[in-house]
């Protein structure tokens, strides 16, 4: 009954989405307020029905109803409750349902909180949103129905892939989808603007918070996924330049560009056409990511060719939306009024450079992702494009970007003074050089580029600090005034500083981890001691334990440094009987931002066990960086300027704020 209700709710949502696709547009044509307002009700009702459908699937998984194929294939009655719930989106059908649920959530949010939008803009936005939704509801109902029944229900399920049975899976995909799908809002706004042929600074002001929300979630989602891979896969890697990872990185890159170009549009009414194009491209890349991940084209081009229903369906959606929106753009973009003028050396100019480097870096990633697929399909030979390719292409572009990052926020709008900014950044530059010198003296081994890269990271952080110091007048003004100015500083300035500093922090983490990571791989017997980076790691013993749906071999290690005991670490290896596969649970010991990492290999006949021990200096900075960036995003989001409709600040107060 639950399965049928869920299915039915999804069909109803499709019906509502179809109504929402057409009626508001007719309303906008006829200037009929009632018809335009239909969009609001249908968007909210859609959210309700898709939500019900999603909850139905969750309930089926929780109840372990194996008469439903999706539950049978991905669940097991012995699985812990948490993983029964997260297993809902640990498979193709369920994750597509999560995708449309989040799409409906965003549509519902626009409907609920978009009261201050012009009526016809809201109607257009929600209609476009409904086009996307209809396409994906159809996709689910036609090719990937999660509510299919099995004629003769089995007694036990096939269990979820063990690697996915982790708290990381509970958080990572929803976060990522909130990011991915969140960009549908800026896409809908862009299409609505093109259809209406009207776009102004207010438009950017409406779009920016939505883009920012999506960007924050995508940032956290990517970081979360990277950390999950790091501790779950057992060998300490955190980024693989894998097509599926690239699929999430590309929307992030163009989304970051969009965030910055929308700023120019909002403040200076310039770069309108470009911002519209970026909105379209960002969501197109999200769709492309969905296609890459969902169609199986990455797993095998040939598998895709033999069972193409799903792949071809998403490919059609992809072509329809990307092709349609780009042709609309081509037809209408010229009619948009050109905006303000600015000198190349100015805040706008810096943001253009930011956009240029980000989109080109994104294009490089796109090339690296699609080139092997294209070659395999066209020329029929196989190759892989991995880290070496991106180190030679992506890294130089990002180095340029990072060099420019501290300059951007300090340049004035319209006409900047590069020399003056350079002088003000002198202290930051010196800090970077000192960091290079220290890293050079300290470091033993590793690339000569590493100290330079650390210097760059320090320069970016120091640059962000300098910006805040300048704005608050720290050092040159009395402390009370500084405090007052700091409080009066727009939150978005703080946000910028935090987000930019986050870049530097992540860079330092990446460089330290890749350059000075030490590893120890050997077989160990009981009471064997491994020495690594000043730590003594002694194997105390190995024990067996029975988990809810797995057997576990736990090794106990005593970690000490200079004879002083530090901690006991217990990495384990789990064998899942149902799938006959095993996972490696690494043990982590955090010391500051560095980590000691132990994971287990196989035990041999004599009771010795293969062990991998890594010492990863500063590794946590890799994820603290994105967290800082996301925090900056949240600060910027709480800026009063973005709360459209909030009362304007008093004039006297406004004069106290430093000019931007």
């Amino acid at each position: 009954m639950i399965a049928e209700s869920g299915h039915y709710a999804l069909v109803l949502a499709l019906g509502l989405a179809l109504i929402q696709s057409v009626v508001p547009l007719i309303g906008a044509r006829l200037r009929d307020v009632a018809l335009m307002n239909v969009a609001r009700s249908t968007a909210l009702a859609q959210l309700l029905f898709v939500g019900a459908s999603f909850i139905a699937l969750v309930m089926l998984h929780v109840n372990s109803d194996f008469s439903v194929a999706n539950v049978y294939e991905n669940s097991h009655s012995m699985k812990p409750l948490l993983y029964k719930i997260t297993g809902v989106w640990g498979n193709h059908e369920g994750s597509m349902l999560l995708w449309v649920s989040i799409l409906a959530l965003f549509g519902g949010l626009v409907a609920a909180f978009g009261n201050n939008l012009p009526l016809s803009l809201r109607a257009h936005v929600l209609a476009v949103q409904a086009w996307v939704a209809s396409a994906f509801y159809l996709f689910i109902l036609v090719t990937s129905n999660p509510f299919l029944r099995i004629a003769s229900p089995p007694i036990e399920g096939r269990d979820l892939n063990p690697v996915l049975q982790d708290i990381g899976l509970a958080v990572h995909p929803p976060m990522l989808y909130l990011g991915y799908v969140g960009f549908s809002i800026s896409f809908s706004f862009a299409i609505a603007a093109l259809m209406e042929g009207r776009i102004d600074a207010a438009w950017a002001r409406w779009v920016r918070p939505w883009t920012l929300v999506a960007w924050i979630f995508l940032t956290l989602g990517i970081a979360m996924g990277s950390y999950w891979a790091y501790y779950e896969l057992g060998w300490g890697g955190w980024w693989f330049w894998d097509p599926v990872e690239n699929a999430s990185l590309m929307p992030w890159l163009s989304g970051t560009a969009l965030l910055h170009s929308a700023l120019v549009m909002e403040k200076r009414n310039a770069l309108k056409v470009w911002t519209i194009l970026l909105s379209i491209l960002t969501f197109s890349l999200s769709l492309l990511g969905t296609f890459l991940v969902r169609s199986g084209v990455i797993t095998s081009v040939h598998a895709f060719a033999t069972d193409p229903t799903r792949g071809v369906f998403i490919l059609l959606i992809l072509c329809l939306f990307i092709g349609g929106s780009l042709s609309l753009f081509a037809g209408r973009a010229t009619s948009l009024k050109q905006g303000g003028l600015f000198a190349p050396i100015s805040r706008e100019g810096a943001l253009v450079l930011n956009n240029l480097l980000l989109t080109v870096a994104c294009a490089v990633v796109l090339f690296g992702t699609l080139y092997p697929l294209a070659m395999e399909m066209l020329a029929d030979f196989k190759m892989s494009v991995g880290a070496p390719f991106y180190n030679l292409t992506f890294a130089p572009l990002f180095t340029l970007l990072l060099l420019a990052v501290p300059f951007g926020p300090m340049l004035a709008w319209k006409r900047g003074d590069l020399l003056g900014v350079t002088q003000r950044l002198l202290a930051a530059g010196v800090a970077g050089l000192v960091a290079v010198a220290i890293a050079w003296g300290w470091a033993t081994g590793g690339s000569t580029l590493a100290p330079l890269a650390i210097g760059l990271g320090v320069f970016v952080i120091a640059g962000a600090v300098t910006d805040i110091v300048e704005r608050t007048g720290l050092v040159r003004l009395p402390f009370a005034t500084v405090l007052h100015r700091a409080r009066g500083l727009p939150r978005s300035s703080w946000g910028t500083a935090f987000a930019h500093a986050g870049l530097g922090v992540a860079l330092i983490g990446i460089v330290c981890e890749t350059t000075w990571n030490s590893e120890y791989i050997a077989t160990m017997k009981q009471n064997d001691v491994a020495h690594i980076s000043g730590f003594d790691v002694k194997l105390d013993g190995v024990l067996q334990r029975q988990g809810p749906n797995y057997r576990e071999m736990i090794a106990e290690f005593n970690v000490s440094r200079d004879g002083a005991p530090l901690s006991v670490m217990t990495p384990s290896k789990r064998s899942f009987t149902t799938r006959g596969s095993s996972t490696t649970e690494a043990a982590l010991l955090t010391r500051g931002a560095s980590q000691l990492y132990i994971s287990l290999g196989d035990a041999n006949a004599e009771g010795a066990i293969a062990v991998r021990i890594y010492y990863k200096p500063m590794v946590l900075l890799i994820w603290w960086g994105p967290v800082l960036m996301a925090f900056g995003g949240v600060l910027s989001l709480s800026d009063r300027r973005l709360r459209v409709g909030a009362p304007k600040p008093a004039r006297a107060k406004q004069r106290l704020q430093p000019a931007e």
Partner: protein, 174 residues
Amino acid sequence: MTRKQRRMTIIGGSLAVLALAAALVLNALRDSIVFFSTPTMVAEKHVEPGKRFRLGGLVQPGSLQRGDNLAVTFEVADGNAKLPVAYKGILPDLFREGQGVVAEGALDANGVFKADTVLAKHDETYMPKDVADALKKQGHWKDDYGGKPSDGGKTSDAGKPATTAQGNPQGAVR
């Protein structure tokens, strides 16, 4: 500056960055791409020692030998030819004789493939994509090699499964 000059500056700057990116990509394509080969292809094409590539095939049953200090040797076969592989380190969870494997490294002077990375998959029904495709092409594909390779896409899911079941990293030893 006039509007036209400003526009030209921006267009010029954009072209410069694009040209830089294109140069970087072309340069990287020259020597950072790793090609995939099977033992048969290695035998036919006469790959020179020291050139990095990915070797894919099935681990020849009975060929696995463990030496001291985690050194292992085994043979990779694809039905027509086999190639000895030497590796030092921990083999992935699902490394088994008779199962598919992908190793990355280069041939040494004696014609032994020195692998520095060995990849296998977590899911037992999953055969590495490259291996399955190559075997199919040569007509050595049998269903008892361990299920449908296309199933790999289904087992892993949600968001970014690459690092768990689809991409090369999982079970990888570096």
